[in-house]
């Protein structure tokens, strides 16, 4: 049994017949070939697969593609304003060495974007707690926190 | 994991014993049994469906009674296999008459889990064992009702 879904991913409308058991993350990676969203675990713990569904950070390994029918999805490939620009968080991660192997990075950035959306002025503590659903094995989180702080600062500048 | 407990039922050891030795009744009181087939006097082939919280799995395997002592007790050996891991146990069950119409049923044994059940189930195994044994005795009590 396949079900047709209509989704908008990074501003582009897609329509596909999918098996109900297809996870959203596999839809993005294998069907749309947006491989920036990663799979790091099978218990909804590591956060590497985080994307935005209707603007909210979502673990795409814990959502079925059929559940995303009618939703607006943003992945790491679509978070920057254009191909030639970076989102302030992307810039922050590069400026502050917030990544090493890069595998957790897309999920980190997508989660951090949710944090900043709800709290443009997070304290260090709020950033750390906000990232509790995302594992990084490389950076020790130190520079990730700095990257988010960089972005928060930058985004404030832009709005002012 | 160690599984130990004690339960008093309102029936004589003879009645309890008869109940435990009857395949059809046993099939009704062991939680989750969907099929119980007697192979010989002490061996049963069983199919169980366990549905508890996150886990819903079908088990296939054997139940075997050893050291059978009429109206006193036996050792129940269980081997149950499923797609998500296997369970095995050796549980000593003993009946002690308290009064004419009361029997203390004590059980003591070791339960082993393997595979995904062992990996994911460690925090819950104690609770699951408790829940299943509670269900077993509550079912038994229903059977014993006149």
């Amino acid at each position: 049994m396949s079900i047709r879904i209509n989704v908008t991913v990074n501003g582009v409308a897609f329509s596909h017949e999918v098996e109900p058991r297809l996870l959203l993350v596999n839809y993005l990676r294998d069907v749309l070939r947006l491989t920036g969203t990663h799979v790091g675990c099978d218990t909804s713990s590591c956060g590497a697969c985080t994307i935005h569904v209707n603007g909210k950070a979502t673990k795409s390994c814990t959502m079925l593609a059929v559940q995303a029918d009618g939703c607006e999805i943003t992945t790491i490939e679509g978070i920057a304003p254009s191909d030639d620009e970076l989102h302030p968080l992307q810039e922050g991660f590069r400026e502050c060495h917030g990544l090493q192997c890069g595998f957790c990075t897309p999920g980190m950035i997508m989660t951090a974007a949710d944090i900043l959306q709800n709290n443009p002025n997070p304290s260090e503590e709020e950033i750390r707690v906000g990232l509790e659903g995302n594992f990084c094995r490389c950076t020790g989180y130190h520079n990730i926190v700095k990257s988010v702080q960089y972005a928060a600062h930058k985004m404030k500048e832009v709005t002012v | 994991m160690q599984l130990t407990g004690n339960h008093v039922v309102e029936a004589s050891p003879a009645k309890v014993w008869a109940l435990l030795m009857d395949t059809d009744t046993l099939a009704r009181i062991v939680p989750g049994v969907t099929k119980l087939e007697k192979i010989d006097d002490t061996t049963f082939k069983s199919t169980l469906g366990v549905k508890l919280g996150p886990v819903s799995a079908a088990f296939n395997g054997n139940l075997q009674m050893e050291n059978v002592m009429e109206e006193k007790g036996f050792t129940l050996k269980i081997q149950q296999n499923s797609k998500v891991g296997n369970a095995s146990a050796a549980i000593e069950i003993s009946l002690t008459p308290l009064e004419e119409t009361k029997t203390a049923i004590a059980f003591n044994g070791d339960v082993k889990l393997s595979g995904m059940l062992a990996t994911m189930g460690q925090r819950l195994i104690g609770g699951v064992a408790n829940t299943l044994s509670k269900q077993f005795f509550s079912n038994m009590e229903k059977e014993l009702l006149p």
Partner: protein, 791 residues
């Protein structure tokens, strides 16, 4: 950014980041090949079981199934090899039971592969694997290394009696050490477990193997730290395929931490399968499988005694360790508890007598191998726990005790290296310096005052020290060869100057987060006086890079970087000849200065790009001058490098619950010269958090039947952002005297130094509250700390 000079020592932003932050990294699982098939495994749910039957009939007819193979199909294929031979004390070779690609007769740990299913889709492969019925006879399992050697314990391999892989000793004769301990004024004894860790790189292992039958050519994409080594081991030792028929690519790799060094059975099996099927076969480990299959780390059971004279000088160290190797001998498993652990037991101290007695043991558990630090964290943990405990027992200050016992500073140039009692010769060191700096950063005296005050108010604060040393830059081939390594441990650096003067550098080191594409480019651009944009670093592809030994043991820059320097020197030498020809000068009169070839004492000079072009347009060349500017070098280091440092942890322990909060962490590391401080700091941060993970959160828990009971992120506690404060780092620089960059390596330092510092801090906090506790087993869960306080 076009800085051409002084790139060394600059925190240049990483050039590789753009693809990662935009989601365009290319990891193995991102690759789908034409005609792709997908694999799934049937794995043993038992730690030890005879395989009575495998019924694949139902599975074989399921939708999408392409093939199913079982142990019987690969019976004649070799197992995966071990790369390092260690001998028993009696000279016999260690036991090396076969590690088959699929087991046919007996499963030896949970997760041992019984069958592989290959199907048109991943879902179909998983569905079919579930339909395979395996009949087992469960056997008693053995988990604990110290019990495995007892008579009557379950036997993992028939060929290894008492489950012993090898026994081994190093250092001074045991009689001398026993006597020195017996004569000591104070002996500190510690019985402890250095628990087993699961590496947990966030990218699970993934492989994609394909075979082009028309060109007889294999390609294996693999999430590896060392593609050439995998090619060598797989081709020469497992499958018997000529190496030139196999291309191994390690594309972007999502972290390794050691666990992706090794040659795993799945790599060889998929390559074997693709040849059978003539279709690409891909397998990506699930996290649940990673927990059961990726080689674990540590797992030592140790008893150690450290003797002191009346004034606190160390007199001797005696160590007895059981090292758990798991069910099979992984690629470097044998050298980790021996040559990477025993040889580090001198630490930073002048200990005159040292002996380690080691037994390496098979058990029905996942294989154990190198994990960030590999042997050195175990040695450091042992020493640093003993030192802090001894200080408490002798009522001395732990910093003072260390100062008293440090090896005096030596630069390795004007002063010789330091010869230890356990085989190594340290290259250069200034151990007092890092502790002094650490104490200053901490504000030691103020902390002790605050600690006392806190204790009076019923609060438990503690400080813990760890002054560590490690052996990196692995390593001189002759030395490791004499110790049993079955490979050379040099590195390859190939510099290809393009006619336009742009540079392509091919390194045998592999980057999986370390930032080689940046650091190596800095080195090259600095040396040639070019903008970094003119340099590209190519790594990870056996077809592009002639050879390589890969990345582990903090060796990339010290060994791989040095190989590149060697080639750059050849480029410059050749460039001088070409410049000399252009200016009709003698090559000896040509200098290379700030990116230009200059004829001494004249105004004649040519930029690098001009000479590069001439190298490829060899008109009017004199006889004997070859065209081209393209050099490759093998660099084999003269010695290991020896980074060291001082880590200090401050913790608060909740009296009621035992919960530990890390409130400060100070790390002063001396990794020799630093090319990119930002990257070095990042390595330290990551290492520290991983090391603290061992101290406070992580540990594989097996039940007595060999079941890993915390094999998921719901139970295996990974360190998270909110568990940590900002980490305070500083560096001291004592250059390595024997490699051209003067670098020592920074990848593992954080993970080696931090663990004992945190445990020591918790113990210190407990002593401040009157709980004279010797040891708490790691990880220091709240309950364990609470129990320690109840005694």
């Amino acid at each position: 950014m076009s800085t051409t000079h002084g790139l060394i020592g600059k925190s240049v932003k990483r050039v590789e980041d753009r693809r990662f932050i935009t989601g365009h990294g290319k990891y193995t699982d991102d690759i789908i090949l034409p005609g792709q098939t997908y694999a799934s495994f049937v794995r043993s749910p038992y730690a030890h079981a005879k395989i009575l039957s495998v019924d694949t009939n139902a599975a074989a007819s399921m939708p999408g199934v392409v093939a199913i193979f079982t142990g019987a199909d690969v019976e004649n294929v070799n197992g995966v090899p071990c790369g390092w031979q260690v001998n028993f004390k009696n000279g016999h070779h260690m036991k090396e039971p076969k590690h088959p690609l699929l087991v046919a007769d007996k499963a030896k740990h949970v997760g041992d592969a019984i069958a592989i299913v290959i199907a048109e889709s991943q879902a179909e492969a998983v569905d079919a694997a579930e339909a395979i019925v395996v009949e087992y006879e469960e056997l008693p399992a053995i988990v604990d290394a110290s019990k495995a050697v007892e008579d009557g314990a379950p036997q993992v391999h028939d060929s290894a009696p008492n489950n012993i892989c090898f026994d081994w000793a190093l250092g001074n004769p045991i009689e001398e050490v026993d006597a020195a301990i017996a004569a000591s004024a104070h002996v500190t004894t510690l019985d402890f477990v250095n628990q087993r860790l699961v590496p947990n790189a966030i990218e699970p292992r993934a492989y994609n193997a394909s075979y082009d039958q028309y060109n007889d050519k294999y390609t294996l994409y693999t999430s590896t730290q060392n593609p050439h080594l995998i090619r060598l081991l797989m081709c020469a030792f497992v499958l018997g395929i000529p190496e030139h028929r196999v291309r191994v690519v390690g594309p972007d790799v999502g972290g390794g931490f050691g666990s992706k060094i090794f040659h795993y059975t799945e790599e060889a099996l998929l390559t074997w399968c693709t040849h059978k099927l003539r279709r690409p076969v891909k397998w990506t480990s699930t996290r649940s499988e990673s927990f059961l299959l990726d080689a674990h780390g540590r797992d030592h059971i140790t008893k150690a005694d450290m003797g002191f004279d009346a004034s606190g000088n160390i007199t001797a160290l005696r160590v007895k360790t059981y090292a758990n190797l798991g069910a099979y001998l992984s690629t470097f498993a044998s050298c980790v508890p021996s040559y990477l652990h025993g040889t580090l037991l001198q630490g930073l101290y002048t200990t005159p007598k040292i002996n380690i007695d080691l037994v390496a043991v098979f058990t029905n558990t996942t294989a154990v191998d190198a994990y960030r630090g590999a042997g050195r964290p175990e040695a450091t943990y042992l020493l640093e726990r003993l030192l802090d405990l001894a200080a408490h027992e002798m009522n001395m200050d732990p910093a003072e005790l260390r100062f008293k016992n440090f090896i005096p500073p030596f630069d390795g140039v004007t002063q010789p290296g330091y010869q230890t009692q356990v085989a190594l010769q340290y290259d250069s060191g200034n151990y007092h310096g890092v502790l002094e700096k650490g104490l200053a950063m901490l504000g030691y005296e103020d902390f002790r005052k605050a600690q006392k005050e806190a204790a009076n108010n019923g609060k438990l604060l503690g400080v813990g020290f760890s002054t560590y040393i490690e052996a990196c830059g692995i390593a001189p081939s002759a030395v490791v060869g004499s110790l049993g390594a079955r490979a050379g441990l040099y590195e390859v650096g190939h510099v290809r100057v393009q006619p336009s003067g742009k540079i392509s550098v091919y390194t045998g080191a592999h980057s999986h987060g370390q930032g080689h594409e940046t650091t190596f480019a800095q080195v090259v651009a600095d040396k040639l006086g070019l903008p970094m944009e003119d340099v590209e670093i190519v790594h990870g592809d056996s077809e592009a890079v002639a050879f390589g030994m890969g990345t582990y043991g903090s060796r990339s820059l010290a060994v791989g970087g040095s190989a590149i320097i060697k080639s750059l020197e050849k480029v410059i030498e050749k460039g001088k000849k070409i410049a000399a020809h252009k200016f009709e000068a003698n090559p000896e009169d040509v200098d290379f200065v700030e990116g230009r070839f200059v004829v001494k004492g004249t105004h004649h000079s040519a930029p690098f790009s001009d000479i590069a072009l001439r190298a490829y347009v060899p008109h009017h060349y004199p006889a004997g001058l070859e065209p081209g500017l393209d050099f490759s070098s093998f660099y084999d280091p003269a010695n290991f490098t020896y980074p060291f440092g001082c880590h200090i942890a401050v913790v608060e322990v909740d009296k009621e619950t035992g919960k530990v909060q890390l409130t400060r962490f100070v790390a002063v590391d001396d990794v020799g010269n630093i090319i990119n401080p930002m990257i070095v700091e990042g390595q330290i941060h990551g290492g520290v958090v991983q090391g603290v993970g061992q101290a406070l959160f992580e540990g594989a828990e097996y039940d007595e039947n060999g079941q890993l009971t915390n094999g998921s992120y719901m139970d295996y506690c990974m360190p998270r952002a909110d568990d940590f404060p900002m980490i305070e780092t500083a560096s001291q620089v004592t250059p390595c005297p024997h490699n051209p960059l003067g670098v020592k390596g920074a990848g593992e330092a954080g993970c080696i130094g931090s663990t004992p510092a945190v445990v020591n801090a918790v113990i210190d906090a407990l002593w401040s509250g009157g709980h004279k506790v010797k040891d708490i087993r790691m990880p220091l869960t709240s309950e364990r700390v609470w129990r320690a306080m109840q005694q």
